[in-house]
């Protein structure tokens, strides 16, 4: 049950002050690894080709994860670095500075595996201590990071975790909130400002790598614009008349971890630039040069989402509008709040689709069947298939984990590799190396790819959406279809309405109930207007 308002006020008035207990974790090894990775990333974003930029994105994702999740220092670090190739390849391609950074990074990541993560040690000790003292705790984390917390302490259960604004708003008061990583309102490790402006605990125990800075504007009071972090770091004066001042936050900073200098690598400095600031800087520069676009992520209630250019109008159906003539709208995701509306996605067939019909999922059944056979034949060791795919330039992290995901049957979309090159390589490897000859038939890969693209909703892509008149035509069409749309909306999160057969356009519209809209992502054109699971969009977060 959601806490009532009076109890919420009672809790705030009974708590004289709140403490931000910032526990900075020192690791000379990890600090230096971060420096080396920054050297590598800077070079790759500066001069990388498409394939190399993809590796850079993966490395950036991995670095962001290290900073915000208590991941163990295991072989994953080395694997990520190995995506760059061998020493000679790197030296030829990137020069002396990068190859030295690469060698140092590999060496450090091997040492780190032996030493273990001081973050995990400190966090684990704290959790055990708090639970032993019967302190009520909650951990604010991303759902996908939970396994790393659970592995720290057997007594932890799902009930100890809070995942988002809604869960936090609904939670009862408790004693201590644990959070790993800097306090940020966007991107990796993001959490609600309400942690500081509407606390439901007296202590926020923040475990953060030294050198990682909190966002200045975090903990913003929407009325005064002042932020708790700014007040705590003395960047602004404290005013008790605003809520930040009235709540009386105090900051306590302690340091722990591997404080001894590492003689082998001669490392003793702390990182000299905040990693997220660095990543933002290089990515912004890359986006400027490569004309990446500002995009909005429209998240659907069914855990899928779609990226659309921030200034491009989208078609929505608002079921709340009583007047059916107004229920279809063409609005910009920037200017309009879409929660509760249905996003309308055209699935209009075009000439090049031929006989491909995604509803029947003919092609996906075939290739998924072949992939499942291969995986079943090698249940414990997918390394051969992964190796073959890597040789065909499928440079994805955790490839072994993704292969079984691609076997999953179609749901909202057909689970498959995101890129044509990767999908084509997968079909070729399955066909040639595992004797799945049916996949080598004429244009099988192309037809199956069209089917996948259709399921993702980019049937009429290739820039045609850019044309305003196209959208207006669709707007008129949807208005004509309004009665069918109203009838098809039976309270589900997703539904499909076919275009009437007497119309020039053939196909259907899919409607997805919108949960929220996230602004401020910068993405290449190639990832726009495709439906994917929302977790797939993590790599575009800062």
């Amino acid at each position: 049950m959601i806490m009532n308002v009076t109890s919420c006020f009672d809790f705030l008035s009974n708590c004289e002050s709140f403490t931000l207990d910032r526990k900075e974790i020192v690791s000379n090894l990890f600090g230096d690894l971060r420096k080396q990775i920054r050297v590598i990333l800077e070079a790759m974003y500066e001069n990388g080709n498409d394939y190399e930029i993809e590796i850079a994105h993966e490395l950036r994702t991995r670095l962001s994860e290290w900073l915000t999740v208590p991941v163990p220092f295991d072989g994953a670090l080395t694997n990520s670095l190995q995506l760059l190739g061998d020493r000679n390849t790197i030296e030829r391609r990137w020069g002396d500075k990068v190859v030295r950074a690469f060698e140092t990074a590999v060496s450090i990541s091997e040492s780190m595996q032996q030493n273990g993560s001081p973050m995990r040690r400190s966090l684990g000790d704290e959790i055990v201590k708090l639970l032993r003292e019967n302190t009520s705790i909650q951990i604010y984390a991303h759902p996908r990071s939970v396994e790393h917390f659970l592995s720290l302490c057997n007594a932890l259960t799902e009930e100890h975790f809070l995942y988002g604004n809604i869960e936090y708003a609904a939670s009862e008061p408790f004693d201590v909130l644990l959070k790993v990583g800097p306090l940020r309102s966007v991107g990796w490790g993001k959490c609600p400002d309400a942690l500081l402006t509407s606390p439901k605990f007296h202590t926020l125990a923040q475990f953060v790598w030294i050198g990682s800075s909190d966002e200045d504007s975090f903990g913003q009071d929407p009325v005064t614009g002042e932020s708790v972090i700014n007040i705590l770091t003395n960047k602004t004066s404290l005013d008790v008349t605003d809520v930040c001042g009235a709540l009386n936050w105090s900051l306590k900073t302690t340091r722990s971890g591997d404080t001894l200098p590492d003689p082998e690598h001669g490392v003793k400095d702390e990182p000299d630039e905040d990693d997220f600031s660095f990543l933002f800087r290089i990515q912004s520069r890359y986006a400027d040069v490569n004309r990446e676009r500002s995009a909005a992520l429209i998240k659907f209630v069914n855990a899928y989402g779609i990226l659309v250019p921030s200034h491009e109008a989208v078609l929505v159906y608002d079921p709340e509008k009583n007047d059916e003539n107004d229920a279809i709208e063409l609005v910009q995701p920037m200017g309009k709040h879409l929660e509760g509306c249905f996003f309308a996605l055209p699935m209009i067939e075009t000439a090049d689709f031929g006989e491909v019909h995604v509803e029947k999922t003919n092609y996906s059944k075939i290739w998924k069947g072949c992939l499942t056979d291969v995986i079943k034949g090698h249940p414990k060791d997918l390394s051969e298939l992964s190796q073959l795919l890597r040789m065909n330039k499928v440079s994805l992290l955790n490839l072994d984990g993704r292969l079984p995901e691609w076997c999953n049957p179609p749901s909202t979309v057909i689970p498959a590799p995101r890129k044509w090159e990767h999908f084509n390589a997968l079909i070729a490897v399955l066909g040639k190396h595992y004797n799945k000859h049916e996949l080598l038939a004429d244009d099988f890969a192309k037809k199956a790819w069209v089917e996948i693209r259709r399921s993702r909703g980019n049937a009429i892509n290739e820039g045609r959406e850019e044309i305003r008149t196209q959208k207006e035509l669709e707007f008129d069409l949807l208005k004509k279809m309004i009665l069918k749309i109203v009838n098809a909306n039976t309270g589900k999160n997703e539904f499909t309405v076919p275009v009437p057969p007497d119309h020039d356009l053939h196909g259907s519209y899919r409607f997805f109930l919108v949960e929220s809209v996230e602004q401020g992502l910068v993405v290449p054109d190639t990832v726009l207007r495709e439906i994917h699971s929302v977790t797939e969009f993590d790599i575009w977060r800062g």
Binding site: D193, S198, K321
Partner: protein, 322 residues
């Protein structure tokens, strides 16, 4: 005065935050003048705060002198060309007979009428205004003693000290206060209002009832209108609102958008109070900040402090520059 929330817990007296928001609404309504005003209130959680501020403002208007019979007659005279309703019967206003209203029934033409039967003659009625339950088409009852709001005791107990409520005001519909429902849907706001109850002297009423919002039938006395931020429609027409209380950031943005759209729509001259939930997502909080920064070109902070809010509430007011 007892108070209850959505979980059914009864509090023996009004919690501080409830008293503050009622007082704030009442004082806000008492201080409006020629300079347009915008107030922002942030709350630590989702709440019926907008309803409470609207109720405070409504109570302030209940303490203002209600319309006299002469003024109501003048209003009926000005709307003489419009059809009046009393229940399902239709009338036209004829005039004032020593304070009483003279109205003539409008007979609906019936094409299926048997021509042999004599034509029905319109009835002319003369009666006191508050016994006729008259209303213009699509509007609520202008004045009625039968359908007067029945929560005088509760309003009196909720009114800040010194505020005296006119009995007669409870008999008259009014549209100076408007509440804007959440963009998620009016039903969300209404559910919050429904779950917020007051009890005194054995009488209980929820916020939805106290605000006298219309719910289907227009044959009622209503003192507050409701605006749907999704559809852009008011629940009933009336004079432009003087105070608009927005439930949440989206509702506020919608009203400001309407206010700025033109200088002669119903919201162009209104004063706004917005009640914000601080657990909203950052994107929403940022959109509010952006709008407030933009408005500060034309509005300046009110340096006169309103009473200090309880811990957990933040408050700021801006006046339109002259």
């Amino acid at each position: 005065m007892k108070f209850a929330e959505k979980d059914g817990t009864y509090y023996e007296c009004l919690p501080e935050w409830v008293a503050y928001l009622l007082r704030m609404g009442c004082e806000f309504a008492g201080q409006i003048n020629k300079r347009q005003k915008i107030s922002l209130i942030s709350m630590p959680c989702d709440s019926p705060g907008a309803g409470l501020v609207a109720l405070g403002a409504m109570i302030s208007y209940l303490s203002a002198r209600p319309l006299s019979d002469e003024e109501i007659h003048r209003r009926l005279e000005n709307g003489k060309s419009r059809t009046l309703f009393s229940g399902t019967d239709m009338f036209r206003y004829i005039g004032d007979d020593r304070g009483k209203a003279v109205i003539e029934e409008i007979i609906k033409s019936d094409k299926r009428r048997n021509l042999k039967r004599p034509k029905k003659e319109p009835i002319i009625r003369t009666a006191s205004l508050n016994g006729l339950d008259l209303r213009f088409e699509d509007e609520t009852i202008i004045v009625s003693s039968n359908k007067a709001l029945s929560y005088l005791h509760i309003y009196e107990k909720l009114a800040p000290q010194g505020v005296v409520i006119y009995d007669r005001a409870l008999q008259q519909s009014h549209s100076a206060v408007c509440i804007v429902g959440k963009r998620k849907g009016l039903s969300v706001t209404k559910a919050l209002l429904f779950d917020t109850c007051f009890e005194t002297d054995g009488k209980t009423a929820n916020l939805l009832e106290l605000l006298s919002l219309v719910d289907g039938s227009l044959d009622v006395v209503s003192r507050v209108t409701m605006y749907n931020a999704r559809t852009g429609k008011l629940d009933r027409p009336g004079l432009p609102p003087e105070i608009v209380v927005a439930d949440g950031i989206d509702a506020f943005l919608k009203i400001v958008e309407e206010m700025q759209r033109s200088t002669n729509n119903i919201f162009s001259g209104c004063n706004i109070v917005v009640v914000i939930d601080r657990t909203e997502k950052r994107e929403k909080l940022d959109s509010l900040q952006t709008k407030v920064s933009e408005l500060r070109q034309w509005y300046e902070p009110d340096l006169l402090e309103f009473s200090v809010p309880p811990k957990g509430i933040a408050y700021a007011t801006y006046f339109k520059r002259i």
